[in-house]
Structures are given as C-alpha cells and as structure tokens.
C-alpha cells in the first residue's frame, strides 16, 4: 500500500482503503453520512451497464456512486 489514486480508476474487485475525501457541501455530507471516510475499506463490486455509476461494497453494505463523485475520493490498494 503506497500512493493513493482516484477511486474512478479502481478496478473491479480490487481491495481498497479510502485515503482522502475532498468533497464539500451536500455531496461531501452525503458521502460521509454513508460512511465513506478515510480509513474505510471498500471494493468496487460492479459497474452499471454503461460503466457509470459503480457499486461499491463496504464492510456491511453496498452503495452506488457516480464516477464524477468518485473523483473526490482517493484510495490506496490493499495488498492481500
């Protein structure tokens, strides 16, 4: 686990850890309300038929996120 990269570029089924969340305002609030904060482990488990939005699996539940919203989140890959 070294440098962070944008969540948009994450591969499906790659284990990730959130490094930063830079969104502000309503979007930032929604992202945080659903538990996307630095340190959270997650993985992209699927993409919608047109590749956007993506389904993101957290420890206890799944949420959806547009690519444009994923741009505000940087993640790092977790080595197994």
């Amino acid at each position: 686990m070294k440098t962070g990269f944008c969540l948009r570029n994450a591969q499906v089924n790659q284990m990730l850890k959130i490094v930063t969340v830079s969104a502000e305002g309503e979007l930032g609030r929604r992202i945080r309300d659903l538990g996307l904060i630095p340190g959270t482990e997650c993985k992209v488990i699927g993409k919608a038929p047109l590749k956007d939005p993506v389904a993101l699996r957290l420890k206890d539940f799944t949420l959806t996120l547009r690519n444009s919203e994923a741009d505000h989140i940087t993640v790092a890959a977790l080595e197994d």
Binding site: V21, E26, L36, A48, P53, F61, T64
Partner: protein, 728 residues
C-alpha cells in the same frame, strides 16, 4: 392516565416503516408535515391507561439541514420534544446506522435503539452483543425482526419505561472532536450559556457544533434571535475553519464526521464480531446482482419488469375500472330517469356523477400500480433501476427512477398520468422529481389515444401506424428535451448526488405492500371528493352556461314541431322507412341545437375569442372548445369535437363519422391535424393530473406546468402547422 409522544427515527431501508406498521397496525393517519411535501404518519396506540402517539419520522442518514426530510426530523425532535425516540436500525450495518443514533444522542433526546433485522445478522454469521452496546451507548437496546413483528412489544414497553423514568429530561452526549475543535467548542458553549442563546430548545454544545458545521437552518434561527451574538459565533467558526483548512486541509464538518465515526468505531469494536472465514462468501444478494444488473441481461430484465408493471396496471386494472364505469353509468341513468329535465339534473348527472365517476375510475389503476411499485421498492429493485439508468437520465437532468413515472404515464402508449405523477414518490432527489412531474404528462395517456388514432386514421390512412409510433417517440423526445431545458433554467443546479444505498434484495411483506397501497389509494379517493368535485362542477358550468336565449331555442323547437306532427300521423308498422328518415331529421336538428348551445356557453365564447390566436395553428372555435373541455379529461376532446361539429356526443371508441366530418371540413387540413396532435400531446394535463402534481410538489409548480406546457404546446402547434402546410 398519561399521554406520550414517541418518535420513530431511522435510516432509509432499515425497516422503520415496517416497525411502525407492526406497532400501530392500521390505526394510522397520513398527512404532510406543515409546509413541505414530506409525509407525516401518526399512529395512536392504547397501552393500558395510557395513550401513545407514535410519529414516524422521514428516513434519514443524518440530522443536517441539507434535505427537507432531515430538517423535518430534526425540527420535530427540537420543537415537539417527544418523550422518547426509537431509532430503528439495520443491525446488519450497525456502524453506519449508529451515525444517526449518535447525532440524536448529542441532542440529548431519550433514545431507545431498536436493533432490527437481527435475522439477517445471524444469517450472515455476525454476532452482536446488544448488552454491551447498551452499556457503551448508554441507551436501552432491543433486538427486533420487524417483518415478523418480533420484539415490537418489547420495544414499545422499553420506550414507555424510559419515558416514565426520564420525564422529558434531555441528557446530551458529549463527543470529543479533537484538539482543533474541542477548545473552540468549549469556548462557544460557555458563551452560549451565558447569553442563554437558543438554550430553551437545544443544548449549548449542539448549537456550537451546528455553527461549526455551518448549518444554514440553525444559523438562520440564531440570527433571528440575536444577530450580533450569532455573528460572533460565525466569526469563531470562520477562524477555526481557516485553521483546519491550513493545517489539516479539511473543513470542520468533515472533521466532525470523522470524529463521530471514530467514536462509533470505538463503541462497536467489542460489540460486533465478524465471522473469520467468510471473506469471500458471496451473499445471495450479490449473486442476484450479477444477473439483475448484468451489462446485457440487466437492462433486458428491467424492460421486462417495466412492461409487466404496465401490462398488469392497465389490463388487470381495466376490469374493476369497467365495473366502476358501469356503476356510475347506471347511477347517471337512474338519476336521469328519476328526475325532471332541468339544470339540477344536468348538474347532478353531467357535473357531479360524470365528473367524480370519471375520477374514481382511476382508483383501480392507482391501486394496481402501487401494489407493484411498493413491492418492487421493498424488494430493493427500484434502487437497481436507478443505478442502471442513471447514466442515461443524468444527461437530461433526471434521475434513473424517472423511468417509472414516464412509463406509467404513457411512455408505452395507453398509460395514465395520474398514477404516473404519483409514482414520482420513489424519487428522493427534489430537483429531478420536479422536472419529472412537469414532463411526465407529455406521454401518450389512454385518453389521448383516441384523439391520435382518429386523426391519424382520418388524415394519414396509409401511415396510421407509423404516425402513432412517431407520436409515442415524439412524446419521449419532448419530455426529455423539456426536462433538460428546465434543469438548465428554472430548476438549475448540480444533479442531486447519487451516493445511494443499494439495499440487499429482500422479500416484500404482503402487509407492508397492502398498507402502502391502501394509503395511496385512499388519499387519492379523498381528493376526488373535494377539490376534484369542485372543478368538475366548474367545468360543467362553463360548458352549460349561459344558455341560448329563448328565441334561438324556439327556432329549433319550431323546426321540430312539423316533423313531430308528421311522425304522429304515421303508422308504426307500415311506414318504417319514412319514420326512420324523420327521426334522423329530428336528430340532425337536436345536434344543430347542441352545437348552437355549446357555441353560446362560456367555453364556446372562450373558443370563439381564442380563434384569432388559434387560427395560427389551424384551429377554429370548434377545436378550441374541445381542447378547453380536454382540461377536464382528455376523453372529452373527441366527444366535444363531435358536439361542436353537430354530430351529437361522439363515442371515443367509434369515431368514423367525426373523422369523415373533419376530412370534409375545408378549414381542417392535414396540417391542422398535425398541429392538433402536437397540441394535445403537450398542452395542460387534465385537472386530475394537475391536482396530483400539486400534491407531489406544490400548487405553484402545478400551475407553472399548466401555463408553461400550454405555451409550449401552442408554439409547437403553430410551428407544426406552418411546416406541415409547406410539406404536405
């Protein structure tokens, strides 16, 4: 004998409504929270001597001021001060669900945690130590399975015990927000208490936190109470924000969220135990998603499901709709026979019975649609629809779930905009919902179909089917384009964030679906009795008054007299042909009289007065009256056109004679037909839809839609008319 008020809070999809239903049964009352279109459900329960008022708060993830739902929930806690709040939690996602609970604790309202969906927790192999959670959180904890009604009684008992113990006293929780924010908060707290600033309602530290979070609602209240002091707090918040931005590159609200989650993580560390070897176990829900949201299969299955909803709503719904129609038809006939001819009879039959009957005829459609939509919503599939379609609908400033209202409204020709507009309930994004409500009625509803069928069969007999298809596609194109325009002008703004939970697939409960359907249907039926009745009477009066002057009526009477006399001299058995001819003449006179009569009414005068304007689109006064009547119901367009063309009332199912009449009218050209199609597609929705729109948004928005859509329809009709004149 005491009266208690309990609030039920919780995240969306946590089983909160199911728990509410389990606690109150059918004894609930649905209304809106004052000033907003967020639904308020209240249930009354008797517990021994005591009366309990149970208030279902909107499902929220948080208590900020970003959405109406959250504001409503928060204001209820602060203003109505319930004795106890029950937080229904999806225990399977305990950490995230505690985020709301912690915010309620910070406010200090006595709280009971309902750990719901414990069956799913056990299935997933997790273990939750609820006794430990009770100790660590300081709240009472009750394990429940709402869909089976398990734990509901205990939850209520525990809440009542707490209400009696606490006697309305609030004990706010204090969380540390770290070395940057804590000192400021302590300072703010001291100042707020010294000034007694908002302390009659909320704890001082809570106000401080809200100032740091830049909560617009709290700051506005603060300014109203004491502007100078509020400015001082705002300045303190600004200073600390400058600092945290510089040193941590984060705003205080982000830090606060992080610390809250930190607090929660500390609390549940020893409460939740995860199974060790279960990392790669694919849950049933994920497996279903592999198919149901598959790149190719997903959209195909979705199309299938949407089609089935549509088919069941309109084919199965048609049966009881037919019964209702026959009943009101029978009622109208009975009244007609029982009463003498006159205004009162006409008002009763044509105004009240036809109006309300026509409107109640929609009840079966609404019932069937909500049966299926609430089942789909409870199953978690609606969220998947939004997920799959978001990319497409985002382009037009809409939401993935806008597809349902569109289809039900007539995206597949033959729908109905009333249940369609009501289906926007599934949209949680306010701007997208407004745009959807505005444009959904453009779709080809069942009542517009006869108009389109008649016109395309009469004027484009070679290509009637193609024209019908083009109309359906044209309606979609117009709806999407107008939505895009609205979203870049009147309801401009970024799309509502799509960060949304994808709940696991669950089997909907029959009880939940039935209660939801009943609420919706009843709400609609009540409207039919009030506003809709009033408008039907108004429209009836417009199409009846003022009546022709006596002299004019006498002219028709004079024409009839000799024919009637002649008829009486004929023998019923011998002169059948002659009699038939005479009766036809009589009917012609009656129809001519009806035409003259409608010409004289307010609607007729409006039609006549509008002629100079409407002629630009190729409509004369007859079409104008029909379109005015179409505001009552689009079915009326064809029948009124018949009256205005002195054919008597035309049955919308059988329009051959009217079509012939139109084709023979030199004024009514194929270009007029094109213009009329465009106008009917786009202009003001029928008033039943308008009432539904107002119910889902506001009267202002419903009125803007009527005016805006009619203006658009006119422009399109004029353009269509002139282009068609050149081309055809």
């Amino acid at each position: 004998m005491a009266k208690y008020t309990l609030g039920i809070a919780g995240n969306p999809n946590c089983g909160k409504t199911t728990m509410f239903n389990a606690l109150t049964g059918a004894r609930q009352h649905v209304a809106n929270w004052p000033g907003v279109t967020v639904e308020k459900k209240v249930g009354m329960i008797k517990a021994g001597e005591d009366t309990i008022e149970l208030v279902d708060l909107p499902g929220t993830y948080s208590l900020t001021a970003y959405t109406q739902e959250e504001l409503v929930a928060r204001n209820f806690l602060v203003e109505d001060r319930p004795q106890v709040v029950i937080d229904v939690m999806n225990a399977d996602a305990l950490e995230r669900n505690l985020y709301l609970a912690v915010q309620i604790m910070e406010l200090g309202v006595p709280l009971v945690l309902g750990l719901n969906m414990m069956d799913e927790v056990r299935q997933s192999g997790k273990h939750i130590d609820s006794d430990k959670l009770a100790v660590l959180s300081g709240c009472k904890v009750v394990e429940t399975v709402a869909r089976e009604g398990k734990g509901a009684d205990e939850l209520l008992r525990t809440s009542l015990e707490l209400a009696r113990e606490q006697r309305g006293e609030w004990k706010p929780l204090t969380i540390s927000y770290g070395p940057d924010l804590d000192p400021v908060l302590v300072e703010m707290q001291a100042l707020i208490e010294a000034e007694s600033f908002l302390t009659d309602k909320v704890p001082s530290r809570w106000t401080g936190i809200k100032y740091l979070e830049r909560d617009e609602d709290v700051i506005a209240r603060g300014r109203a109470v004491n502007a100078d002091f509020s400015a001082r707090l705002e300045a303190m918040a600004d200073a600390v924000e400058m600092h945290t931005r510089k040193t941590l590159n984060a705003r205080p609200d982000a830090l606060i969220a992080d610390y809250r989650y930190g607090f929660i993580a500390g609390m549940i560390k020893d409460v939740v135990t995860y199974p060790v070897l279960d990392q790669d176990r694919v849950s049933r829900s994920d497996a279903m998603d592999k198919v149901l949201t598959h790149t190719l299969l997903g959209p195909l299955i979705m199309l299938g499901i949407v089609y089935v909803i549509y088919e069941i709503t309109f084919t199965v719904g048609e049966v009881p709709m037919g019964w209702l129609e026959s009943f009101f038809g029978w009622l109208g006939d009975t009244v007609t026979e029982a009463m003498p001819d006159g205004h009162l009879r006409s008002l009763l039959v044509s105004g009240i019975i036809d109006g309300v009957g026509g409107v109640l005829g929609f009840v079966p459609l609404i019932m069937f649609m909500f049966l299926m939509i609430s089942a789909l919503e409870d199953s978690g599939y609606i969220a998947r629809m939004a997920y799959m379609l978001d990319r497409v609908f985002k382009i037009f400033g809409l939401h993935g779930t806008s597809v349902l209202p569109f289809i039900v409204s007539g995206g597949i020709a033959g729908g109905c905009a009333v249940p369609g507009v009501m289906a926007t309930r599934t949209l949680r994004s306010p701007k997208e919902k407004l745009a959807t409500i505005f444009v959904a009625p453009y779709m080809t509803c069942g009542a517009k179909v006869p108009v389109f069928l008649m016109l395309s069969a009469a004027f484009f007999p070679e290509n009637a089917a193609t024209v019908m298809l083009m109309i359906t596609l044209g309606a979609w194109a117009m709806a999407l384009i107008v939505a895009r325009v609205l979203r870049s002008t009147v309801i401009r703004g970024d799309s509502t964030p799509f960060v949304m939970e994808l709940p696991p697939y669950r089997m909907p409960t029959l009880r939940g679906v039935l209660i939801h359907t009943w609420e919706r249907t009843w709400e609609y039926a009540k409207k039919a009795g009030t506003i809709i009745l009033g408008i039907s009477i108004l429209i009836w009066a417009m199409m009846t008054f003022p009546q022709m002057p006596e002299e004019r009526a006498e002219v028709f009477e004079a024409q009839r007299a000799p024919i009637v006399a002649q008829l009486e001299t004929l023998d019923e058995n011998e002169d059948e042909d002659a009699m038939a001819a005479l009766e036809e003449q009589l009917a012609d006179i009656d129809n001519a009289e009806a035409e003259a009569a409608i010409h004289h009414t307010v609607a007729g005068r409006i039609g006549k007065a509008l002629e100079p304007v409407s002629l630009l689109a190729g409509f004369d006064w007859r079409t104008n009256i029909a379109l005015t009547g179409g505001f009552a119901a689009k079915e009326v367009i064809v029948s009124t056109l018949g009256t205005a063309y002195s054919l008597g009332e035309v049955d919308p199912e059988d329009t051959d004679t009217l079509a012939q009449k139109l084709v023979n009218d030199p004024m009514f050209t194929p270009a007029s037909a094109v213009a009329l199609i465009l106008f009917t597609m786009l202009y003001a929705p029928c008033f039943v839809t308008v009432v539904a729109m107002a119910r889902e948004s506001s009267w202002t928005w419903a009125t803007s839609s009527v005016i805006g859509s009619t203006a658009l329809a006119y422009v399109m009709a004029v353009a269509g008319y002139n282009i068609a004149r050149l081309v055809l």
